[in-house]
């Protein structure tokens, strides 16, 4: 008994599955009648196929249905969230504007403060014949126009070298008038509002996400 070639085995396997053309099938069936080795091989192939076809089927150990998260579906954004986001952005803009206005106001107030304070200083220093007026040489026209910062007025001429321009002196850092410019209450109002709105939007989003996941899980379990 000859051992079938691999081509024969291939043909026999395809014959078993009905994959041969009519001509191939007829030719093979003729050979099968003459060659017992082909019959034996066909029986082997058939047995293998039969056993495989009867392989026990397992039930899947769990449900493979997808949750929206697994499927990459994002939970819907509640309508309130974008509204709160925009409101928060508006509050932030107002906060920045108010802050900017306040800073500009302080700068301009700081620049004006010496001029505003010049009158009383002049009246004290020059008008009443105080320290600086008595000891200093007569000031030039420019120096008279320029305001004298308060600290220098208070510390007297010994702090200012003669002939040094008073322009170079730093503006009154501890000027009680400048620092007493009130910070607008609106800065706090807008900042607080912006933060509250952001927190609100986040909270709503969090609650919505949780609810979405809970619903998805309960749907999947049911």
């Amino acid at each position: 008994m000859n051992t079938p070639s691999f081509h024969d085995v291939e043909q026999l396997s395809a014959y078993l599955d009905g994959q041969l053309s009519q001509a191939e099938k007829t030719r093979l069936e003729t050979r099968l009648q003459l060659d017992p080795s082909l019959v034996a091989t066909l029986a082997d192939l058939r047995q293998a196929r039969s056993i495989l076809r009867r392989t026990p089927r397992r039930r899947s150990p769990r449900s493979f249905t997808l949750t929206p998260i697994m499927a990459g579906i994002k939970p819907p954004v509640p309508r309130a969230v974008p509204a709160l986001g925009w409101a928060s952005a508006a509050a932030m803009v107002l906060f920045v504007l108010t802050l900017g206005t306040n800073i500009l106001g302080q700068i301009s107030f700081g620049a004006n403060a010496p001029m505003l304070s010049a009158a009383p200083i002049t009246s004290e220093g020059y008008g009443l014949g105080g320290g600086p007026a008595a000891t200093q040489p007569p000031a030039s026209d420019n120096s008279q126009v320029l305001p004298t910062p308060e600290p220098n007025t208070l510390t007297g001429p010994e702090a200012t070298p003669p002939g040094e321009s008073r322009l170079a002196q730093p503006p009154a850092p501890s000027s009680t008038k400048a620092s007493s410019q009130p910070v607008s209450i609106w800065i706090y109002v807008w900042l607080g509002l912006a933060l509250i709105l952001i927190a609100g939007a986040l909270l709503i989003r969090l609650i919505s996400d949780r609810s979405f996941r809970r619903k998805a899980d309960s749907k999947r379990n049911s």
Partner: protein
């Protein structure tokens, strides 16, 4: 089940429609993965991955057998898993003596193949088949699982594996012969119902 309608709805993002399809096909998908991988946990993971990939790639489905399309996805997931296993082979934790030598216990000394009698006791027919399947090269194993266990025709198998029809035919013939030899080695382990029963019918 109106499968085409469910597929259409799922393609438009209807997750409930897709999940109906999942429920219909999950056993086929899981069994295919189980036979290719030979491990229940890995098969479950591969099946889940396959359904996730299938949902995301659903718009690439252009008609034809949805079952074949799904089986292609799970086959790819199994190949990924096998490649991952090859890159990061895992070894079981083995007990060691104080000197660092491997501890000799009956469990660790046992022949992994076991005798036919042992296999008969613990594994029944399914385990014999799985054992023989795992001895086949992956490509041969997949062909025989798809054709003989899942009952797909040659054209479907060729389309799933993206191989020529001739390759499928040749691999299936080789795989059947090798499985026959392997199963023969189990001798009387196989119940009589599994012996040449079909020979009379063809």
């Amino acid at each position: 089940m109106d499968e085409p309608a469910l597929i259409r709805n799922a393609q438009h993002g209807d997750l409930d429609a897709f999940n109906t399809l999942v429920l219909a096909y999950q056993d086929i998908v899981y069994n295919t993965a189980l036979r290719i991988l030979g491990d229940e946990d890995l098969a479950a993971d591969a099946s889940q991955d396959a359904f996730i990939s299938a949902f995301r790639a659903l718009n690439s489905y252009r008609g034809g057998s949805f079952r074949a399309w799904l089986l292609r996805t799970v086959t790819n997931a199994c190949y990924d898993e096998l490649r991952r296993k090859q890159r990061h082979p895992t070894t079981p934790l083995e007990p060691e003596t104080e000197d660092g030598d491997e501890m000799e216990t009956p469990r660790w000394l046992a022949d992994p193949d076991g005798t036919p009698e042992d296999l008969l006791d613990k594994a029944e027919v399914e385990h014999a088949i799985q054992h023989c399947l795992e001895n086949l090269p992956t490509d041969f194993r997949t062909v025989v699982i798809l054709a003989d266990i899942q009952g797909l025709d040659y054209t479907e198998v060729a389309s799933i594996l993206k191989k020529p029809l001739g390759t499928v035919k040749s691999r299936l013939a080789r795989a059947r012969l090798r499985l026959r030899e392997c199963l023969q080695s189990f001798g009387e382990l196989l119940p009589s119902a599994f012996r040449l029963e079909e020979e009379r019918t063809v």
